[in-house]
Amino acid sequence: MSGFHAFLHKEFLEITRTWRIWVVPGMILFFAVASPILALATPALVASIAGSQPGIMIKVPEATAVDAYQQYLKNLNQLILIAIIISSAGCISGEVRGGTTTLVLTKPLSRTGFVLAKIVSQQVLLTASTIVGAGLCVLVTALLFGRSPVPYFLGAVFLWLLYALWMIVVMTLLSVLFVSQGGASGVGFGVYLLIALLSAWSPVAKFSPAGLISGASRILSGIRPDILPAAAVTILLALVFAALAVQRFRCKEL
């Protein structure tokens, strides 16, 4: 693990100096503010559209804090995950293509340290962004709706975060396996769609990362799902995929 800390420091410095600070963190913060506002405005928007059509009357129930949280969770599950897939797809292959690996890996930095620093830096960035985003969303929701089921919301965000951290490991593995960022993104998007489909199939979802997605929605609806098997399998798979990424990268000729 020699050189790991120096390389991890470089990764954090790179995050603050490049586009990486703006994409996933920027989107998370944007939707943390926009989701409650959009939830509040939705009934008025629907009513105004319906009112412009003679003979049509739609009754939309008044928005609640739960709607605001569900809106935010939906954005996390869709747009933010896609952003994570695209931005993580080149984390290893980008350095290999750019020729920087031939400089850093001929110094006392192990390939294991290189891959792990990539995973850790992305996960730290995502975790910090998610914590700040969740806090911001709670604050804006409280300002717009008053009291809200904050513990349920935080539970749902936690499950989403666990799933997104797993997705970062998947994308790191794909970035080792695929030379092109496009190829890794494509396969990553396939994994994302597969998990989204599986989340609707309870027997499989219960014992896979898909259970975290469906579990997050159910927590927000006030149901307490048994997410332990899904969480355990997700963590186990993340460890296996991380080990596989390290093993494949160690075998790679640069």
Binding site: S2, G3, A6, F7, H9, K10, L13, E14, R17, T18, E95, G98, G99, T100, T101, T102, L103, V104, L105, T106, K107, P108, L109, S110, E253, L254
Partner: protein
């Protein structure tokens, strides 16, 4: 007891499918030398360097750096070397100073010692006053920064892969001057296909062709063994008569016509220097030029590899 070689390679083979990039390479590089690793494009120079630096694995054979096996003792080996690849990739968002700090920190350097080394190396590379980020550097600046980062750990062995290719004459001179300034301080092993660079800075050389080392010696030794000194004679008018007279001389190996000139390759140069003037007088042709030409590394290289370099 003899000193451990800086690089020792034995029967090194690297196959890509059925194609042998390296085919039983044997090489020994003494410590303290500036060693040129010469060969045409595709000879296997970069593959050899990739194996030495741990970026690739050999199919068979072994290679060691300062006595340490490059396949197994990876971090121990890497702490002893500095490496500049043929197309170094830098983080464009960093400044040169930041990159050198980062490179030093990978070796565990920190604090005042690191800062001092970074300042010295930036100064040596002529980049001390450059404020732009690396993304805005010219190719020559990147190459000089590449050498500076390869020296950050004060390596016992500096490996440079084609350090002067694709540089303009000024950039090339700057890089060669940097290499020359390291002579005697560290072992420098650099691959190139530019013969003039090797003649200028190297004391020893190995010539690689089609994955095999075809010769290893001092630059002087290779020139004297393979390149042939010869006499150039230019006369007024047709040198045909002179050529006919020299053709029968025992000391003359070979004659080549170039316009008014005649290149006389001799097995015994001293004898030829005496025979040729007599032949000129006998032929009655006015002399314009008589010159004994020293052989160059290029002569030796062409003699060794020649047309074999092209499929």
């Amino acid at each position: 007891m003899s000193e451990t070689p800086a690089i020792e390679i034995q029967s090194l083979t690297k196959l890509f499918g059925s194609n042998a990039a390296l085919d039983g390479v044997d090489l020994s590089v003494p410590q303290g030398s500036v060693f040129g690793f010469l060969g045409p494009n595709g000879a296997g120079k970069t593959t050899t360097l990739r194996i030495l630096t741990g970026l690739a694995r050999p199919t068979s054979g072994r290679a060691s750096i300062l006595g340490q096996d490059v396949v197994h003792a990876t971090n121990e080996v890497r702490s002893l070397i500095g490496f500049l690849p043929d197309a170094p990739g830098f983080y464009g968002w960093m400044s040169g100073r930041e990159f050198l700090r980062f490179a030093g920190s990978l070796f565990g350097l920190q604090g005042a010692a690191l800062e001092e080394r970074v300042t010295v190396l930036l100064d040596m590379a002529g980049l001390a006053d450059v404020r732009t980020r690396i993304g805005g550097y010219s190719r020559g600046m990147k190459q000089r920064l590449g050498i500076a980062q390869a020296l950050i750990n004060a390596p016992r062995l500096l490996l440079l892969d084609e350090p002067t290719s694709a540089l303009d004459p000024i950039g090339r001179k700057e890089v060669l001057d940097m290499i020359l300034s390291l002579s005697g301080r560290t072992t420098v092993f650099f691959s190139t296909h530019i013969l003039a660079d090797v003649e200028r800075v190297c004391d020893s050389v190995a010539i690689l062709n089609r994955g095999k080392v075809v010769m290893q010696d001092s630059v002087k030794g290779i020139k004297s063994r393979r390149g042939s000194r010869h006499v150039v004679v230019e006369v007024e008018g047709d040198p045909g008569r002179l050529e006919a007279m020299l053709r029968g001389e025992q000391c003359v190996d070979r004659l080549e016509r170039t316009g008014d000139g005649l290149h006389v390759f001799a097995s015994d140069l001293a004898a030829a220097q005496s025979v040729i003037p007599k032949a000129i007088v006998a032929a009655g042709t006015p002399l314009r030029r008589f010159e004994v030409l020293e052989s160059s590394l290029e002569d030796a290289f062409v003699d060794l590899i020649g047309a074999d370099t092209r499929p």
